[in-house]
């Protein structure tokens, strides 16, 4: 019999990703509904020390595969080790964050185990003992409810969609002696900008569009910094070469759902709206009172963003 919920955590250089806490919290909720344990899996080098904190987010047990070879994520080594753990744990549900690593890993795992995978789920519920996952399709234009029948199932949760709940659980750590298996991949190097907050995980996002008129996004960067948020861009701003591709918000870029989204000089094409409509509060600043973005915004200001945005930054500075 399959039983239990297995949460696959993700850490980068000894720090867990925010979506890991979201996946654990959701995993705890599912485990409570199914009346079973939540087990967290941690892979990496020197991870035993950080693993201890996972009990705080609901893990009854923590399996720590501590191995220098697992220091950097590689699709095949991680898939090998995690499928071994799944084979011995035999969980009913596997949950993880749909980060870029989580997407790659969950897809390879689903194929290896031949089980259903709900990518980027935003809501998970149990109905008549069946798991139903809600996930956006067509870039968020439609929400699909998916029924999943395989044992186990894999749920990859979209960052910023599920709340983090702190529940004190035992969090007993068990060392796991991992068999790395065959690998064809080799890690060469990694470049990280640690000063930047990841768009998909940010609580506040300010984005610029064609109305920025050029590559100078400093007014938006100052506002984002004041909030501890991230700067995004519309497709046209990226196509103009003003911002890197990684900053693009929209159907062919990133989907974001922060508490506060401020769209500056963005008209509001359907593809952009798809990427940010799940934000809690949307503010639009645009010169053109007819811009479609105003139809989706909670608050709109018609005016010159280069005048309005610095004033917002100044007001926030006063509050803080």
């Amino acid at each position: 019999m399959s039983k239990g919920v297995l949460a696959i955590t993700e850490q980068l250089d000894g720090v867990f990703r925010k979506v890991t806490y979201e996946a654990l919290s959701e995993g705890r909720r599912i485990a409570d509904q199914l009346g079973c344990d939540l087990t967290a899996v941690v892979l990496g080098s020197n991870v035993e020390i950080i693993a201890a904190e996972l009990g705080k987010y609901g893990a009854d047990r923590i399996i720590a595969a501590d191995n220098p070879i697992l220091d950097e994520y590689l699709t095949d080594t991680y898939t090998n080790v995690i499928s071994d753990i799944i084979a011995s744990e035999n969980p009913a549900v596997i949950i993880l964050g749909a980060s870029m690593q989580g997407k790659d890993l969950s897809a390879r795992l689903a194929a290896r185990l031949n089980v259903s995978l709900a990518m980027d789920c935003v809501v998970i519920r149990i109905e008549d003992e069946k798991l139903i996952a809600t996930r956006p399709i067509y870039g968020g234009k439609i929400l699909a409810d998916i029924a999943m029948d395989t044992k186990p199932v894999i749920l990859a949760v979209r960052p910023n969609s599920m709340g983090i709940t702190e529940t004190d659980c035992a969090g007993d750590i068990e060392k796991y002696d991992a068999n790395i298996g065959q690998t064809n991949l080799k890690f060469i190097e990694k470049t990280l900008d640690t000063t930047k907050i990841e768009l998909t995980e940010a609580d506040m996002v300010v984005s610029g569009g064609r109305g920025m008129g050029g590559a100078d996004f400093s007014v938006l960067e100052e506002l984002a910094e004041m909030f501890g948020g991230a700067v995004g861009a519309s497709r046209s701003a990226v196509d103009e070469g003003w911002r890197p591709h990684a900053d693009q918000v929209g159907q062919t870029g990133k989907v974001v759902s922060p508490n506060l989204y401020i769209a500056c000089g963005i008209s509001g094409a359907i593809q952009h709206l798809a990427g940010m409509s799940s934000s809690k509060i949307i503010v639009a600043v645009n010169k053109d009172p007819e811009a479609p973005i105003f139809l989706k915004a909670d608050y709109g200001i018609v005016g010159d963003l280069f005048e309005i945005v610095p004033l917002i930054t100044e007001e926030i500075r006063k509050i803080k």
Binding site: L12, Y73, T75, T79, S99, M100, D104, A107, A110, A111, V115, S116, M119, D120, R135, I137, Y138, G140, K141, I142, L143, A144, D145, I146, A147, M148, D149, V153, N184, L185, K186, F187, I188, E189, K190, T191, L192, T194, T200, E201, H245, A246, Q251, T252, G253, Q271, S277, I281, I282, L295, D298, Y299, G300, I301, G303, I308, L311, I312, E315, I319
Partner: protein, 260 residues
């Protein structure tokens, strides 16, 4: 270098996609069909590798009659031949089902490198490419923004949150594309003329030794589709000056929306 591109035809992102009366499928009668944008990057990258290293580019797709148009477009861009697995209910298969069909096609053709889009912009599954690699038992590197082939190995820059990782793999391998990899070319008029004479094999599941019924029952199915809650247009903040408007916005964000 034998390169295979996995290609899907999808509704253009500017299209409005409706929900059909059965509530479990989408209405696509009025949409414009295009090559999945991430697969366009895959075609372009395949052509550039061919131009640098020689070899040929084969397009493989699963779909209906109309999918042939997308394959022809890729041939017009410069790919050498196409294989279309024609199946009238392929929309009903899940990602693993499609991946099994593609893997079955690939078992019969030579390849050193397979390039796929990171996801299709219709079902947003991020699954098929990676699953094909698993079924073929070859390595995969996803979300690639740069690649180099050196001495029979491929070195890729893969995007992660906040940066990039450089990973090397033996060949054959499968990579998936990320925006930023390249700027896809347009099909030229001579390219379009030539494409008409390029080979396009249309096959059925039975032709590649698969049982038509085996994919219909999968482990997951859509129980309902709905539109996300409609965002009501809020209010335009009026005021005599920019300062007055901003002060009112901040008050509203603090007291009404409670987000600051």
């Amino acid at each position: 270098m034998e390169i295979v591109v996995l290609l899907k035809q999808v509704p253009a992102t500017e299209s409005f996609v409706g929900i059909a009366d059965d509530k479990v499928s989408v209405k696509t009668d009025d949409v414009k069909w295009v090559i999945n944008p991430y697969d366009e990057f895959a075609v372009e990258e395949a052509l550039r590798i061919k131009e640098a290293h020689g070899g040929s580019v084969t397009i493989v797709s699963v779909g209906r009659d109309k999918t042939a148009e997308a394959v022809r477009t890729a041939l017009a861009m410069g790919a050498d031949k196409g294989i279309l697995i024609k199946d009238t209910i392929s929309e009903k298969y899940d990602g693993l089902g499609i991946a099994r069909i593609l893997a079955a096609v690939l078992k019969d053709i030579p390849y050193d490198l397979i390039i796929a889009g990171q996801r299709a912009v219709d079902d947003d599954n991020f699954l098929v490419g990676t699953a094909v690699a698993e079924f073929l038992n070859i390595p995969n590197i996803s979300l690639v923004i740069k690649e180099e082939i050196i001495d029979g190995r491929i070195r890729c820059h893969r995007t992660i949150e906040g940066g990039t990782v450089v990973i090397e793999s033996s060949l054959p391998a499968l990579i998936t594309t990320q925006r930023g990899l390249n700027e896809p070319r347009y099909a030229s008029l001579p390219g379009i003329m030539k494409a008409k004479r390029k080979p396009l094999d249309v096959k059925t599941l039975a032709d590649i030794g698969l049982d038509v019924g085996q994919f219909e029952t999968s482990g997951m199915h859509i129980v309902s589709l709905k539109f996300p809650p409609e965002r009501k247009s809020g209010r335009i903040i009026e005021g005599e000056s920019a300062q007055v408007k901003v002060s009112e916005l901040l008050r509203a964000l603090r007291e009404e929306a409670k987000v600051i």
